[in-house]
Structure formats: structure tokens, C-alpha cells
Symmetry: C2
Subunit: 474 residues, 2 copies
């Protein structure tokens, strides 16, 4: 494998034709106060929540329409200058860094909900609309948009990274809820993929090719989304288990019995301790599942009862069932604050978050080995997971200014990625590749990586779209 430095040198060499100064001056003239080269703004548009070193772009344009985006891309294409799309800056793997410089296109002002078709359970939004804003907008329709990554991310960014979250076990991930896209190609053309039909077999699935492509094949500017009906009833609760294995077995049994669980989340012992402290909970400090059921009144009662019997059978429980809305809200606020709770374990620490996803039959062994690895290395690193999908996260509290700690953390992340791949899983379930996970793709995909490379080369021959991400040699 070539080392990072030489890859970057190669990349820079291949971009030597770029003429960033010309682009900057044309953008300033064209976009006036919607274009900036201030260092603070450029840095903010570089890494944001990632732990990787900041590599700021050369300038930031605030786009207000698909045509704005197309115009910027055309200009950059002409000068072979990199373009990087920016939503809310909540990605975690260096997706927004500009290792070769270039222009960041900020889509946050493209925040209009363009149409809502309640009868068809779909809507069309601009890429900068955030998931929370969309849900506020459609609240009165009886519908909701179920995909909920930790951050209040933009819908465009969520599509670009193939995001998911706690509801994915029931409602799927971004790949399942996007019906169609408007995309600006690397040549600055505007294309539309998919449509409003619920299914189609009319040609290549470009929609899903762009989803998860992290802005390396084009920039998503609009999305047609499938919405879900707000459930008539919701119930939820927490259930402690003696160990990770029995909690995972309860998950497997729940899925196998076809209980349409809406959320099923594992918090390890350290995460429960952190949540107790941060969110003033009094949970038993043992591996715990947080659950939520959606359905009719009778349906959610039945689901809760069936789950309760499963848990008891496996030595877990009691399942504490929270029906009251405020009790449920308190519970899920604690779950959603897991990140801050984790940080609370060592407030002055930096945070490095990583995720993997494995077949659920291998989940217990994978979480258990990871917890052992954490103990052996003396990390403060709670584990929390969307375990219905076999997906879990480790949040490592680290001092990023301490090289030795960073090196140890990177080695841990590498062991975790390899552990997941070796049991038939993936090095990232929902965070994406960015810069951080690119080095594991050959191991995960083998020669299929060459096919990805061929697709990239065909669609973006000058490698201007978010270069240095996903593909090790892009």
C-alpha cells in the first residue's frame, strides 16, 4: 500500500494545472459577498467534527440554487480546481477536508422544502434542508422522515454519506428512502435520477450510485424522499442484561421473530455509567438495550410483551416499559446525548468516533473483543450501537495533541475495522469513508475497488470532485 504522503504528492502533481487564483477572482466577482476566503470560514468548512487534521479549502461559495452550484462546478472544471460540497459540517471522517485545496460549495442556504405530496408519502427538498427542519415542516401532514443520524445533518449530506441512525432497523437507511436526485455532474451539467414512482427497473440505478459517493461523483442539490406515516402509537423502554452476549441474543431473537422494532440500541456498561452521570438517570450499570416500538395501540403492547418474554428467557430484564411521552422523551434524550455523556467522562478530552457494522450473529463477539481491546489499552471509550443492524460506534476520549495517544487510537481503529471485515462486515456502517477509512477499502472490497475506480475515472476524469476521499488513489 502506498503511504499517505506519497499519494498526496502524486495527487498534487496531477492537479498542477489547477489555477486556483483565477477561480478565486472569478468567484469573488460573480458571487460578491456570497464568496469568502476568510481563514476562519475556510477552516470551519474543512474538518468540523472530524478528528483528522484540518485542510481548509481555498474559498467558500454560498450557493442558493442548483444553477449556482452548476456554475461554480463549470468554472472549477474549466480550471481543474477541486470542489467540495458542504452541508452542515457534521461528517466524521474528514469528508470535507481539502487536501488539494479547491472550493467548498456551502449548500446550507438551499434549505427549501419544494413540495410535499402527502398522498404519495413523498416530498422534494433542497440539499441543505436539515432532517429536523424537514420534520418540523411536515409535522401537520401526519408524516415523518425517519432517518436520524446523531447530528442534525443536511439531507444532501446524509445522502452523500449513506447515513442512517436509530430508526434504520425498521425504516432503512438513506439508500432506502431516496426516490430521486438532482445532481450537478463534474462537468457542471444538471441531471435528474429516479423519479416519484416507488419502484422502477428502467436502467442503471444512478440514484444509489450517487448515494454514498461522498461528493466524489457529483453534487446532490435536490432530493425526492419517501416519507413514513407517523405511528398511531409509540412505546419504548430499557432492558438491562447480564452481559453483551445475552443482549445481542435478545436482538437476534427479536429480529428473527419478526417483531417490527423501530429502534433497538445497545449501550455498554461504560456508556450507561456516562448516561447516568450526564442525564441524571439511575440505570443499572450493565449492558442495556433501549427499545422503541411503533404501531397501533394493541400492536405496540403486543410487541413490548413479546420482547419482554424474550429478554427474560435470556436472563435479561426486567424490561421497563415507558408509555408516557415525557418518560420516553427523557429516555431517548439520554440516548441521543450519549456523545456528550461520553465526553463528560473526561471533559477536557478530544473525541474520536468510529463505527463498524457486522452480521448480527457476530455482533456479540465483535463488541466483546472490542471492549477487551479498550480495557487492555486503558482507553476511556464507551460503546453504543444500532444493534438491530449489527452497527456499533466507539467513542474514544483522546488527547489529539499527544502523538502517542493518537497513534494508539489509530491502531485501535484499524484493529476494529479489520475485526469487522474479517467476520463479513464493513469498516463503516454509517459514517462513510472520507479520508479516515479509505485505507481499509482494498481489504473490504478486493478487486471491486478497481471497478469503483473505473466508475470514478469515467465520471470525473479530471478528479475535481472531492479528491482524496473514498478511493485511496483518487
Amino acid at each position: 500500500m502506498p503511504d499517505l504522503a506519497s499519494t498526496m504528492d502524486q495527487l498534487k502533481a496531477s492537479n498542477q494545472n489547477s489555477d486556483i487564483d483565477a477561480v478565486v477572482s472569478k468567484l469573488r466577482e460573480r458571487f460578491q459577498d456570497r464568496f469568502s476566503t476568510s481563514m476562519a470560514l475556510r477552516e470551519q468548512h474543512g474538518h468540523t467534527t472530524t478528528w483528522l487534521k484540518n485542510q481548509p479549502p481555498d474559498g467558500v461559495v454560498f450557493a442558493e440554487s442548483t444553477e449556482d452550484v452548476a456554475e461554480v462546478v463549470r468554472l472549477c472544471a474549466e480550471h481543474k480546481v477541486p470542489v467540495i460540497a458542504f452541508g452542515t459540517g457534521s461528517s466524521l471522517e474528514g469528508h470535507l477536508n481539502a487536501p488539494l485545496g479547491g472550493i467548498s460549495i456551502d449548500l446550507s442556504r438551499m434549505n427549501r422544502v419544494l413540495e410535499v405530496n402527502a398522498e404519495d408519502l413523498d416530498c422534494r427538498v433542497e440539499a441543505g434542508v436539515t432532517r429536523k427542519d424537514l420534520n418540523s415542516y411536515i409535522r401537520d401532514t401526519g408524516l415523518f422522515f425517519p432517518i436520524d443520524p446523531g447530528a442534525n445533518a443536511s439531507i444532501g449530506g446524509m445522502a452523500a454519506t449513506r447515513a442512517s441512525g436509530t430508526n434504520a432497523v425498521r425504516y432503512g437507511t438513506m439508500k432506502d428512502v431516496v426516490l430521486g436526485l438532482t445532481v450537478v455532474t463534474p462537468q457542471g451539467k444538471v441531471v435528474r435520477t429516479g423519479g416519484r414512482a416507488k419502484k422502477s427497473s428502467a436502467g442503471y440505478d444512478l440514484t444509489r450510485l450517487y448515494i454514498g459517493s461522498e461528493g466524489t461523483l457529483g453534487i446532490i442539490t435536490e432530493l425526492t424522499l419517501r416519507l413514513s406515516g407517523q405511528p398511531e402509537a409509540i412505546s419504548g423502554g430499557v432492558c438491562p442484561f447480564p452481559d453483551v452476549q445475552s443482549a445481542c441474543n435478545a436482538v437476534i431473537a427479536t429480529i428473527q421473530m419478526g417483531i417490527p422494532v423501530a429502534r433497538i440500541e445497545l449501550l455498554d456498561e461504560m456508556q450507561v455509567r456516562a448516561c447516568n452521570a450526564y442525564s441524571k438517570m439511575d440505570l443499572a450499570e450493565t449492558p442495556t438495550l433501549f427499545l422503541e416500538f411503533h404501531g397501533s395501540e394493541a400492536g405496540v403492547r403486543e410487541q413490548s410483551e413479546t420482547f419482554s418474554a424474550i429478554a427474560e428467557d435470556l436472563g435479561g430484564g426486567p424490561f421497563k416499559w415507558a408509555t408516557a411521552a415525557e418518560e420516553r422523551t427523557r429516555l431517548w434524550s439520554a440516548r441521543h446525548d450519549a456523545y456528550w455523556a461520553g465526553k463528560g467522562l473526561k471533559p477536557d478530552a478530544d473525541i474520536m468516533v468510529t463505527d463498524v457494522c457486522v452480521p448480527i450473529s457476530r455482533l456479540a463477539e465483535c463488541v466483546t473483543s472490542t471492549a477487551e481491546d479498550i480495557r487492555e489499552n486503558g482507553f476511556l471509550a464507551p460503546i453504543v450501537g444500532h444493534v438491530g443492524d449489527g452497527n456499533f460506534h466507539v467513542q474514544i476520549l483522546v488527547d489529539l495533541s499527544n502523538e502517542e495517544e493518537v497513534r494508539k487510537t489509530e491502531a485501535f481503529v484499524e484493529r476494529l475495522a479489520i475485526r469487522a471485515i474479517e467476520v463479513g462486515g464493513t469498516c463503516t456502517g454509517e459514517h462513510g469513508v472520507g479520508q479516515g477509512k479509505a485505507k481499509y477499502l482494498r481489504r473490504e472490497h478486493g478487486d471491486a475497488l478497481d471497478v469503483m475506480q473505473a466508475v470514478k475515472q469515467a465520471m470525473d476524469p479530471d478528479n475535481i470532485m472531492n479528491p482524496g476521499k473514498i478511493l485511496p488513489q483518487s
Copy 2:
């Protein structure tokens, strides 16, 4: 738009380097009695259930392993000879025709279920396994494979055409249930996409790029599939409506209320009449919904009752609820025999089947206009649809030896495709493009078709993989 003849001439010219004789002689030597050039077999491997003119390949190889497939593709690639994958021959749009000649690779002997992981609700199969064989194989595990196109198709062929069927409204289409693929590339390399994790954001979604690519980007030889738990209880029934509009409104209300209906099928008046005659039913001859609910005993009862109330509210009903297994089987046999029932309306006729898919809010108007079009043209053409997805089929009884009838039928199919595209739908919901629908893709996809073309060009630069399908200029 260039006409078909000139496109074909161009294609033939671009393949003038092909050396089919050399390939045939090498295949005969290598595969012996697993290779044939008999005209009967070649014709059978050409069009099968399609209405399009037969264009047989030059020879047929019976592959028994991925390595066999790779070997044939490498040989064909060396000589720039087309290769066409064959499963069971149940495709409908000329997918298997060989307009430029070439070698058909028959995968029907690759019919082993390679592994079943009940804990993970997944399995791995060779591409030639049929959906019914898979379901027989896994029956005792408590799991089932839900995708059910009309024919007992091969799983590989179903992935290649992005097939679905009656269960798609609840369980999704092939794009939703395939976790990973083994694919032979146009260069004869074997690559693996996806994995066994339920979700991943590790790079481009090649799995879904190959699904629906109809053998034009590579040949699928193995698939990892997500299975579903067999429902604890099933109930179903039929519900008549005064007109298509009220039936469609009942579908919309059912979906909007979040009733997790497993099947919801519309039969128009002519189709009901055909089923009554063919399957000895006594249904009222009016637009009718066939429904099935999956869940717990209490759940399916609740779903049935809620649907019943919806139907009554919209002037439909009574909903006749079939709980007994034999009654349900009789009902769904009648539904599955709709094709034969339709043919029964005029036993000496040929059949031409087409499908489109539209947003469900536009379904009633689209079905109604289509029924009018049928009446105006004096066609015998029942309509049946997977209406929960907005997908419907028209089965036209036609005399294919009568040029005037064929011309009229083609004009009808074109009007239908355009009608669907114009309301935001697609020219094919589940049958695929093949040769028959290629001419509508520019209208449906606009400039996105150029992106598809670029992907095809990058992955298969010599255009040897199922040429003349999907892309008008391939």
C-alpha cells in the same frame, strides 16, 4: 431518435472484429457436451417469453461455476464476442436476444444454495437457483424469500432485472434484499460487492449498480440475500369497488395509515371476468382488490378490520376476509394465474405484456385512461397491478403475425409508457428495459442517460456484455 435498423447496423459495424468462429471452436473443445450450437437451443435461449422477434445467440454454454463463467467471458473478451447471461428465460422485453450474435451463458446448472445463516436472516445462493427452489430449501428455518415475480425466475435473473412482485409493497424489490454479489466483469475478473452486514457506507454501491443492469455491466454468479421471518399469521381477502378511483383511494388510505399490508393487488373488471372463468371464482365483475396481511394473530385481525372500514368509507366492500389456508390459497392461485386467465379470454391469441409504475396519487387516472385507450382500440387487455407501489401491468391479446395489430399494440405501449413518465412515473416498474423499453429512456432520464452511457463505456469499453439492451446506443 435514430431508427432501430441503423442503430443495429452501427452496432454490427462496431463489432466487426469479433471472431465468433474461433470462440465457438474453442468453447466446443473446452466445454464438450456443455456447449451447443443447435438451432432449437439457440432459439430457446434467445427470446423465450418476450413478444419481440427472436435473435438467437451463436452458441450456448452451460456454466457450472463462477470460474466457468469467467473463463467464457475472458475468451469472448479476447475476441470481442458478445456474451448474454441466461437464467430461466422468463424475461419479457427481449433481454436475452442476441442482436449481434454471441454466446449465451446458461446459469441454470448453478443452482446450489451455498449457505443459510438463520441467525442473520441471510443466505448465499448461486445465480441459477429459482425463487421457488430457494423457498423450498429454507422452509424449515422459519424464514422465506419474499420477492415473487410471476414466473419462477432465477434469483440471478431477478437481480439483473431488478424484479419485484406482489410482496414488494411490504418487503421491497430485489434492490432491497440483496446484500452482496459475486460478479464476473466484462474483462473476465471475479469481483465481490457488498457483504453480510445489513448496511454499509464503505464506498460506491456497486451492488445496486449491478442490480437492474441486465447483464450489460457484468454477469452475476452468486448472491447474498436478506431473508424474512415467516409471519406468525396470514390473513387475506378480496374487496370489490364501484370503480378504479375508489379502489385506488383505498390503497392510498391503507398506505397512509401505515397498515403494513403485505400484498394489495388491483384487478380491473376484465381481469376479474377472466379469473372467474379460468379459476372458477364467483367474484363480482367490478374493479377488485386482493389483499394479504402478515403479522401476529391479533395484528392481522386488526389490519383486516382497519382496511375493511377504509373500504366501506370509500363506497367499496364488503371485504370478504379469507382466514382458512385453503380459501386463501385458492384466491392467490387465481391471482397468480391471472396471465393464463387473461389468455383464456382468447386462447389462440399471442400475449404481449407491459408494465409501468406511477406515484399512487396518479394511479387511478393512469389506469382509467389506459382502460379507455384499451376500449377505444378494441383490445382484449386485462389490467392487474401491484397497486401499493403504483405498479400495473397490461396483458394485450394480440395476433403477432398480423402486422397491423402489432403496430397498434406498439403504439398503445408507447402511449402507456409516455403517460406514466409524464406523471412522474417510470416506463417499467419491474419488467426491465431489455430491447422493448430502451426507446423511452431518454424521455424518462434526460441527460442522466449520458451518465449511464459513461458508466457502461467505462466498465465495458468493448460493449460485449449483452449489447443492444437498456442503452439505445450500446
